[in-house]
Amino acid sequence: MDGLTVDPTPTDWGSNDMRKRIARRYRSEKRFRAVGFAAIATSVGFLAFLLITMMSNGLAGFVETRIEVPIDFPKSSLFLDPASLKGDGARAALAAADIEGSVAEAAEARFGPGGANLVSEAAWLRVRDLIAENPALLEGKSIFSLPVSGDFDLAAKGDAPPPVEARYARLKSEGAISRGFNFGFMSGSDATDPAAVGIWGAFKGSLLTMIVTIVLAFPIGVFSALYLEEYAPRNRWTDLIEVSINNLAAVPSIIFGLLGLAVFLNFMHLPRSAPLVGGLTLALMTMPVIVIAGRNAIKSVPPSVRDAALGVGASPVQVVFHHVLPLALPGILTGTIIGMARALGETAPLLMIGMRAFIATPPGGISEPATVLPVQIFLWSDEVSHGFIEKTSAAIIVLLLFLLAMNGLAIYLRNKFERTW
């Protein structure tokens, strides 16, 4: 049987060479395992580093520095009769009065030359709101705690030139400085002064855009999934639809932006920068995600359910809408939420359709100019002023929290409703 004349001597596993070899192999095993661990540790470490960087930069963005400015209205140049603030004319009267000027005047009087630059450009709005609430303020002298300007705010963080720092320290020892939660950041919109910016405008833009997206993408996605999985005949058209959907899911998002620009703006003349167009564009992008998730969910409903329903005389449409769809719904919803989370973080296609304008008021509807959170982050990241760094990071924290919540909800839904047949 053995064709070779030389019969090998049995391997001596105990020999010195063999022992060394085995030890070497075990070392390489350990090394390989360590490399694997290092790889995952690097990846997760990067995630942690990114989050920590954003946190440490951004948490300060939620805090504002306030300075106490005494304003003596009767003595100021402000001409505003408290009586005019009652009744219908109140808003017009407030709009006509130069409150901004008197705040600047009071700041100069209190802090000396350049004092007006210490308070935020949006500070007078706060004074105006307080007056509107309580016109009696106009009759005497009162102290207003107003947000400081972005430049002066840096001094509070030890990040300003020495003279500004010194001034800050002096005012602080006088007790004129306080710090607190920045409500303005949660309720404001874009501004040129980093101390005055807020994310509400961008957030509302995101919200309106997402509403348009889900209203369009969800029904279309679910209906397509149902058609393809339950009714579509096997033919060339069906193949074409499937190929289209699979490819759309992999098309770079910026291409959808080009589509939106060419079709919705230049061909259909829909309003530029509007949540309507943003939502349409993102809906086309999200729809394939929903279709693919929906088809998987529908596929996992066992045929026995369909057979049972057909067996008692239900029509194919009744089978699907009474039995298959309710059973597949949790899976479809999970996929939808994940698709929406991706759409919420999307920036590039929205830049293409002009949602990058400076928008200082929250949009009133889906056809008004708006921006969205990720685009706002992009715009702020481009600002030269140093105070925008913490605001950008703070906006990122808000965005990440929302994404985390959405993904958490998706995982919860999946765990709660996941069933094995």
Partner: protein, 460 residues
């Protein structure tokens, strides 16, 4: 009548149609041994659909033709006689008058439009009421027609179900329409671009400087559209630097998670790895530009390599990290698809786990991993925000990773933002770049999916 009120009214009519038809069907079904073919609710749906669908379709068409009708009637009004003959200023005045009449504008720039505004307003009202009346008429007519067809043996269910099927089919056709829309809009604009710039120059030219002249005597005003530096930058960042980061880290992470990690560690680490894929790209871009780029620059300076504040390396590194979960999940799937018997066969010969992985599992899973890497490359080269924020806009043809390069996507953003007239070669170039990007990602995806599919079949 305002749009919302009309829709509300129509919805109310639909509800009434549904309820009354259902009640009628219940009456029809009463009697000895008589049975309705369809349950009453289907009769309700049948009549409601007849009442609503034609009216809504009419409204949609009316929305499109009504502005034209309004304009026509304004033009035939006496106030329009004074309009200038020049088409451009004429349409500007008409547009302003329209905005004035609808209340979008508070005051007019051109006094002529002021005089036309009342004509616009009255014509708008006239056609608005006409549309409303026609829609309501259609709703009643449709509902009445359907009502007359209700009978005991009427197959209402089949009719309603046919409508449902049409709706489902239409929904699934939207995917084809979207694909068609992408292809056509890219092709159409690209053809216009290539009528001005030769495709050969675009595909093989080495100079990219899309600034077209504002004044003829400006330097470099001609505009050069050689896209090779862009293609190189895209490949350099997306297919080289990012992959140097993502392939080893992704593959080794997948190997560690599937072959070595304890169950609890895996349950903890895997979602964390996947979180990397869920972070918006604008956040990565910000991180790359703000934190990583200065480090990369000082590293380059320390090494004595010419460095710029925006670098291919910073963008590529971050993009690589973004792609890690993508590579790792593809590798995970591919390795899991290798039959357990391979692993057993190798271990039974006395191979260590790492020898089994390196010499049996990974080679066996290679086609799947390669497919995954191709998909990852396709995603990396289509990525926009990271390169816009961190890679820069200088179209350098350089292999120095510390230098600034630009990519196809970054240039698309650059070309289309800012105030540009839509017809300039500069804006059209963005669509040509988009077409190239679309075709290349499409090709990568098709090849990758085919490779992965073949591989899956091999083990089934």
């Amino acid at each position: 009548m305002p749009g919302f009120a009309l829709l509300f009214l129509l919805a109310g009519l639909g509800l009434i149609a549904w309820l009354s038809a259902r009640a009628r069907a219940v009456v029809l079904g009463k009697g000895e041994g008589l049975r309705l073919h369809s349950v009453p609710a289907y009769h309700g749906w049948y009549v409601a659909l007849w009442a609503l669908v034609p009216a809504l379709l009419f409204l949609a068409i009316w929305q499109m033709i009504a502005p034209g009708l309004v304009t026509d009637s304004v033009l035939s009004s006496p106030a329009a006689a004074a309009l200038p003959a020049d088409a451009m200023s004429r349409s500007a005045i008409l547009e302003e008058a329209r905005a004035l009449a609808s209340g979008e504008l508070a005051g007019a720039f051109n006094p002529q439009s002021e005089s036309l505004a009342p004509a616009f307003a009255s014509a708008g009202r006239y056609y608005g009421w006409m549309g409303t009346a026609l829609a309501l008429l259609l709703a009643f007519a449709g509902g009445a027609f359907a009502w007359t067809r209700l009978r005991r043996d009427f197959r209402a269910r089949n009719k309603v179900e046919r409508v449902v099927m049409i709706v489902l089919l239409t929904a699934s056709l939207i995917a084809i329409l979207t694909t068609l829309g992408i292809v056509l809009s890219l092709l159409f604009e690209s053809l216009r671009f290539f009528s001005r710039v030769s495709p050969l120059e675009f595909l093989f030219g080495l100079t990219w400087s899309p600034q077209t002249a504002i004044r003829a005597d400006q330097a470099g005003s001609s505009g050069a559209f050689g896209a090779v530096p862009l293609f190189w930058g895209t490949i350099f960042i997306g297919a080289i630097i990012a992959m140097i980061v993502a392939i080893p880290l992704g593959l080794m992470s997948a190997i560690y998670l599937t072959q070595y990690a304890h169950k609890t560690a895996r349950a903890l680490l895997k979602p964390m790895l996947e979180m990397l894929a869920g972070i918006p790209t604008v956040v990565y871009g910000y991180f790359a530009a703000l934190t990583l780029a200065p480090w990369v620059r000082s590293l380059g300076v320390a090494l004595g390599i010419p460095s710029s504040s925006e670098s291919a390396l910073a963008a590529g590194l971050v993009m690589g990290v973004m792609i890690i979960p993508f590579v790792s999940s593809m590798a995970d799937d591919s390795i899991a698809a290798v039959p357990q018997s391979m692993r057993d066969g190798s271990l039974a010969l006395g191979a260590t786990t790492s020898e089994t992985i390196r010499k049996v599992l990974v080679p066996a899973a290679l086609p799947g991993v390669v497919g995954g890497v191709l998909l990852a490359v396709s995603r990396a080269i289509g990525e926009t925000m990271i390169v816009v924020m961190a890679a820069g806009l200088a179209a350098n043809l350089t292999a120095n990773p510390f230098d600034s390069v630009t990519t196809v996507t970054a240039q698309i953003v650059q070309l289309l933002t800012g105030d540009q007239e839509f017809d300039s070669a500069k804006t059209l170039a963005a669509f040509a770049l988009g077409l190239v990007l679309f075709l290349i990602t499409l090709l990568l995806n098709v090849v990758a999916l085919r490779v992965v599919k073949k591989y899956r079949e091999a083990y089934e």
